[in-house]
Amino acid sequence: MNANTASNVTPIGAAVRRKEDHRFITGKGRYTDDLHRPGEAQAYFLRSPHAHARIRSLDTAEAAAMPGVVAILTGAELAEDKVGDLICGWMIHSVDGSPMRMGSHPALAKDTVRYVGDHVAVVIAETLNQAKDAAAAIAVDYEVLPAVSDLAQAQAEGAPQLHEVAPRNVVFAWELGDKDATDTAFANAAHVIPIDVVNNRLAPNPIEPRAAIGDYDSGDDAFTLWTTSQNPHLARLVLSAFVGIAPENKLRVIAPDVGGGFGSKIFIYAEETVCAWASKRVGRPVKWTCDRSEAFLCDAHGRDHITHAELALDPAGRILGFRVKTTANMGAYLSTFASSIPTYLYATLLSGQYDIPAIHCHVDAVYTNTAPVDAYRGAGRPEATFLVERIVEIAARTLKMDSAAFRRLNFVTSFPHQTPVIMNYDAGDYAASLDKALELADYAGFPARKTEAERRGKLRGIGLSNYIEACGIAPSAAVGSLGAGVGLWESAEVRVNPTGNVEVLTGSHSHGQGHETTFAQLVSSRLGIPMDQVSIVHGDTDKVQFGMGTYGSRSGAVGMSAIVKALDKVEAKAKKIAAHMLEAAEGDIEFKDGRFSVAGTDRWLGFAEVALNAYVAHKFPTSEIEPGLKEGAFYDPTNFTFPAGCHVCEVEIDPDTGVTQIVNFTAVDDFGVVINPMIVEGQVHGGIAQGVGQALMESVHYDADGQLVTGSFMDYTMPRAENLPSFRIGLTQTRCPSNPLGIKGCGEAGAIAAPPAVINAITMALGTEDVSMPATPAKVWQIIQAWRAVAQAAE
């Protein structure tokens, strides 16, 4: 190996520092709200104060005459311009074969509003304050209708109906698995463990609120939309093909630096739709920036399930069957991918890490007068994992078996493993991550720590969570057969410049994941060039031809695989050129460490020399080999990937106040091959924090009238530094056989694994299984009081 070349290369597996950080730490990041278009006007949305109401009349005359007002637009103007409804892109069929019931979802209300925050009108003015001033002067005559905000009540006889197309508010009644086989398993069971769980509704809350700037160029009859999107190409596709803003070739969507997404920036919302459309209508760029209170009202929420489930066990504690009945809240309208979350991203993971012969799951998805619910970090998989890991824990405790031993008894141990719920697990070693986690968490030392805590008057518990998730959603044909309206491949284009540096155009989108670093690391290691000679381009539909964006931990497994495929083509072509330059047979050219060499000789060329010659094209026949060195690829995965691992949470509870302190949190994950362990660990940390948030503090709460009670950070509890410990992180590795790099994906693991680990720890400490999320101090204290009352009565 040439030392000079190797020292410039950043290998896969190196914890190299991030390339993108310099602009963020110096305040030079460019987020949507940082941008301005000449002549831009500011948009402010008048939102429904009612959870359900008919708009009898809407008078904008006084408001329109106020200072600075450019235009006030409503559903009437939207209809006039034939702007289409917002859509849901995943078709789910009910058990009876009928398609899901999709209620009309206009970007501005036509005659009815269905949740607090629903879009009534947009005021466009010179300044935001003027737009707000005018919005206050719009007179809306509402006929307030009865509302249903409680998921449990939505299907009740006589409950208020949201959409005519959906009787009893049912979007679909769907099922997966073999009901008869499951019933048989229960008939033969020695033990049946029941559970009722609520998976609490969450607000994603990326710290950057959503924003959009629509800019119509009348000269070219073309639109540009800058927006806080995780998938700008999908936004363009939907806004073109369904909403009808403009044909794709006349609509450019740019997602610049995006300040976190966690799913909430996947979706195509009313606000960016209106900004794009209105920019033509008013003849000026139109800018909207969400404030946090609006974000609570209108960003899609996550989770929100009610579930009853039962686990069938044989006398030794082996799982025989699993039966699940879930009601999932969709909110007032179906958001972009809402229908896929409580179905194919949920029920397919109900086998967990366990060999379960029979599973049956029924899901009712229902409308309520609340904000739409869609993917939030983990999306369906946290709900599945919480259910599985809670019921498994309760089963172990009921059978008086050690929690780890019970899990071990039921682990899937040979691969590939076909579950009864679609998934085919390709690789894993669940015992390895369990063993390592127990060691890192000093599981064996727990009883002594518990005794010591009791001496201080504290209640201590330890909880396990052995999660599995499915990432890199694909193959496209498979998801298509399940109802997806899009393919879930990814694209990449590798452009080698004449001087040998490289631009990679990717359909993935980074909003914190560090693609500019990890993707460059891949190219550096493969081409043998320094990382600073590799630039990653993403987030602009004019630059990147098409892509599916970043969500579901797919950018490593799918996005980077596309880059590998394009790099393969670059290498193949460069070898041909090198063969001509070196006057050798193509088959004799080897490429290693940035050098093209003739096998068995000391003759070689550097990568940059070959790149330059690809463009000057002096030394090869252009009738056989086209000039240039630029290759594109679309990569469609052959299977999902299956990251899995074991998280262990240890808590201490103060019985006087009910406060739960997380004293240790250990995460051991198998993500397959790791490109940059520093970045991977960062992803795990963030996921754990969100999972702990769900378990201990976060919950979106609507009152009975559908008013949002947790409408700001004053009432919605976000995890703070003080609420969390430093984490103990470990990795185990089984290579993923389903993609060329062996990557599984790491973005959601923490959010999926943490909640049951925390609740299993708390329930152990409290000695009762009846602890719902979030386990707030007030709730935990009430549980302790009830338990003491029972204990006293028993004396």
Binding site: M697, T710, D715, Y716, W781
Partner: protein
Amino acid sequence: MYAFDYQRPSALDEAVALLRDLDEPKVLAGGQTLLPTLKQRLAQPGSLVDLSRIPGLSGIERRGEGLFIGAMARHAQVATSPLVQEVIPALAELAGMIGDPAVRNRGTLGGSIANNDPTADYPAACLGLGASIVTNARTLVADDFFTGLFETALGEDELVVGVEFPAPARAGYAKFRNPASRYAMAGAFVAQMADGVRVAITGAGQGGVFRWAEAEEALHADFRPESIAELTLDASDIMSDLHGSADYRAQLVKVMTLRALVAALR
């Protein structure tokens, strides 16, 4: 925010005159509560009268055995003042627990007590120490100053100039933060004064800050944790909301009172 006029008087008389003469004026001290309120358009003042450039309103000085702290003294200033730390360390600690570091750099004593948010900290210190609130017109004892939720005895053109805090023999403050907002869900200020023990509770009362008479009596008899170990606070006048029932807050009041007492005894 709705539009408003902005006035920045350079003398107290001028400020008082502005408050008397302007249409719908509001006093701007540190602005840490007022500005979020204005941003959400929950108030529409005609003018803001900014007190920050009136000289002499932010001093901290010894007065008799106790302290006089100017209305415009920032929380961070009180928290780090060697004089406060020496004379009434519990007050310095309380100031250091308000909001977060950036909020403490702006928020003021006068702004806090004039607003009388039922979950604010300073009202507990004022009531717990039996402080006297000095305005441009008169001096009021804390027991008469705090009159209800966001209500004080201040007249429309009356301004807090400062607060006289008597020095306690021993005092302590403990609070349980609301997990979301970080305001007090229950805060207890316990002070052993020359003429008895005072226990002031913030964050929990439906009517705002209040004195817990039973705890005061018990501690006056014997200033030890055991004295209040068996006490329970009647929850009927205690707030109940999403973050905690009245029973839970009553429990927190008791626990915080115990912890404040332990701090006082330290």
